[in-house]
């Protein structure tokens, strides 16, 4: 498939570079993330997937995230771990964008990559675009989703009135219908906005490419050139340093990893070290009397409730361990 290089669409340019660079960077960012989690610096609770996506797209989201947190009071994870991960991702992204950028310029654009700082050049453009565009996208998609959910609720209501079911549309079908309606609206808006954002970045890169020199080598030469670009001049140094860093991180990991589970079950909670409270006889007598009184009142209330019983099953156990893990937030006090 011969590339029509002159007319390569900005979306394609932006997407190709971002996709490759994000995937290049994520293994390194993931290592920092795991270290931060081991040290207990960050608690993701329910929004792990979202946090992953945001760290994945860090060239564009790195400065946008604090803005979103400030403007919309959303939380991606408590603790200073997330800012640390974002901080670490800046040099990683610059390096990744440089590597991917140079490869892209050579192979797809057949242009000579600018000598120094291509990575930084693409990175600041991506970060700038992301800082303005990403909060805007967040805001629009949130609003659209809210409206779409409300609209789908009312549509489903209408739908069920028209059905011949006595009780309305059954739950599973209704959920499926509503989800399809608001899900497709929301996804469509998200995709369109994302494409626009990527396209803006692509245009910016294309402007950079326009002033770059065309490259003269044949195709095989270009391929070999970017391929060998990945071989460092001093292999021994690079590999030894990498091993050294890995060993240091492993040692940190070993010392930080909790020996027993951070989420103990009711059955086996470790008794906390408690300071023995001072024994005050008068106080304890009166508090016992109070307790007896409250217990008596509770028993009276329970008996009343039993008389007026409608079976209210607790939603507790079944969801306690579910993906949303709301209860576990109570157990993970830093």
């Amino acid at each position: 498939m011969a590339e029509d290089r002159e007319a390569m669409s900005p979306t394609k340019i932006g997407f190709s570079i971002l996709w490759a660079a994000c995937w290049t960077g994520i293994p390194i960012k993931a290592v920092f993330a795991v270290l931060a989690m081991t040290m207990g610096l960050v608690h993701f609770e329910g929004r792990f997937g979202l946090a992953f996506l945001i760290v994945f797209a860090s060239p564009m989201t790195v400065f946008a995230v604090p803005i979103i947190i400030a403007m919309f009071e959303t939380q991606f994870g408590e603790g200073i771990g997330l800012p640390i991960i974002f901080g670490m991702s800046i040099p990683v992204d610059i390096w990744a964008l440089g590597l991917v950028g140079r490869t892209f310029f050579l192979e797809r654009l057949r242009k000579e990559p600018p000598h120094d700082g291509l990575g930084f050049a693409i990175w600041w453009r991506a970060a700038l675009i992301g800082t303005f565009f990403f909060p805007l996208l967040w805001c629009i998609v949130s609003r659209v989703t809210e409206i779409a959910i409300a609209a789908s609720h009312s549509m489903a209501e209408m739908e069920s009135m028209r059905q011949l079911f006595d009780t309305g549309l059954p739950i599973a079908e209704r959920i499926g219908l509503e989800l399809t309606i608001w899900g497709s609206i929301s996804s469509a808006v998200l995709i369109v906005l994302a494409v626009i954002g990527i396209s803006i970045l692509g245009q910016s890169i294309r402007r950079m490419a326009e002033i770059a020199r065309p490259v003269s080598a044949n195709y095989q030469g270009l391929i070999t050139r970017w391929d060998l670009m990945r071989v460092p001049t001093d292999q021994g140094l690079m590999l030894t340093s990498l091993t050294g860093v890995g060993v240091v991180f492993s040692l940190m990991f070993w010392s930080m990893l909790p020996v027993t589970t951070p989420h103990p079950h009711e059955c086996c909670k470790r008794p906390d070290v408690r300071v023995e409270p001072v024994f005050k006889p008068v106080e304890s007598l009166s508090s016992s009397a109070q307790r007896i009184a409250t217990l008596a009142a509770q028993i009276g209330a329970m008996e009343q409730q039993k008389v007026a019983t409608i079976d209210q099953k607790e939603k507790g156990k079944g969801k306690a361990e579910g993906e949303t893990a709301k209860d576990s937030s109570a157990k993970t006090k830093p």
Binding site: V231, T243, F249, S250, F253, V259
Partner: protein
């Protein structure tokens, strides 16, 4: 060994009769036994290597005249299989009969040795760095029950009223509660030998020093005072862990006697005879005002000269 090349011309003493179309190997000796010559116009003949005088890159010189060669029986292809159809080990090491080579181009990207070694080493480094973080947790995981803390509870074993004579060993049987990991609590039967000791016996046992007992970290948890007139010895023989008895010996008098390998100890626990490597193991003992005897249950490694506590 001569290596006649396929497709090379075959020359008899008098004239050129054709070319080598096949080569036959001996599967046992891995040597070429025959060549098959396609004679111009009249089929193929199988010619033993004995007939071959000289071999060059494109010519095989035979030492027989053409008539003799042509008189050989025709070659029967159905009596043979190719080397692709049969497994003969290390064949290519010995046989080089192909004229020229069959080649495949080396990809351009693979031409750099530096590249090759870099990615090879990089792969090794990453592999090492994947295994490293989990090595330590795995080791600790497996070792968890191996060096468990000691349980230093005092256990009631009986009352001193059971002892009728001094310096005589009396076996007290008791039950110890054991909870292993997630298993329900179980009871094991244990025994301990208690003596009401005279000052002379105490002197022999303590030799003027109080006996200290420590926990796993080296902190002293109990001291058996040398003037307390009660001694408790662990019911396990220090040789290999058997339960021993208190018996009357022909020559040595009243002794502790282990039936397994006949170790004999006196009332002070000292080894009189037999393979025991050390004296009987004394246990922390205390007697309440009412005569209730309590011990801390300990077990020591069997068969060693020095006393090493394991439980």
């Amino acid at each position: 060994m001569l290596q006649p090349k396929l497709k090379s011309k075959v020359q008899c003493t008098d004239l050129n009769i054709g070319e080598v179309t096949k080569v036959v190997l001996d599967p046992l000796s891995h040597e070429i036994s025959h060549i098959v010559v396609s004679v111009n116009g009249s089929g193929e003949r199988q010619v033993a290597m004995g007939h071959v005088q000289v071999v060059t890159d494109d010519l095989v010189q035979l030492r027989a005249p053409s008539t003799e060669i042509l008189a050989l029986p025709p070659f029967k292809r159905e009596d043979y299989v190719t080397t692709h159809e049969v497994e003969i080990s290390h064949l290519e090491d010995h046989i080089h009969v192909t004229p020229g080579e069959v080649l495949v181009p080396l990809p351009d990207l693979e031409k750099s040795v530096k590249r090759r070694t870099f990615f090879m080493n990089f792969t090794t480094v990453i592999g090492f760095l994947i295994g490293l973080p989990i090595a330590y947790p795995i080791l600790r995981f497996l070792m968890k029950p191996m060096y468990a803390d000691f349980d230093n509870e005092w256990l009631k074993v009986g009352n001193v009223s059971k002892i009728k004579q001094v310096d005589v060993g009396v076996q007290f049987k008791y039950k110890k509660k054991v909870k292993e990991a997630y298993m329900p609590e179980a009871e094991v039967d244990k025994n301990v030998w208690v003596l009401q000791a005279t000052p002379e016996l105490l002197g022999k046992v303590y030799q003027g020093k109080d006996a200290e007992f420590r926990d796993a970290r080296g902190k002293t948890i109990w001291t058996n005072k040398k003037d307390v007139p009660y001694l408790a010895f662990s019911g396990k023989c220090p040789h290999l862990g058997c339960a021993f008895k208190w018996r009357q010996h022909k020559a040595l008098g009243q002794v502790f006697l282990c039936p397994c390998h006949l170790s004999i100890y006196d009332a002070a626990g000292k080894v009189l005879d037999g393979p025991a490597p050390r004296a009987l193991d004394a246990l922390p003992v205390r007697v309440s005002a009412g005569g209730e005897v309590e011990v801390i249950d300990m077990e020591f490694k069997a068969g060693t000269k020095s006393q090493i506590r394991i439980i």
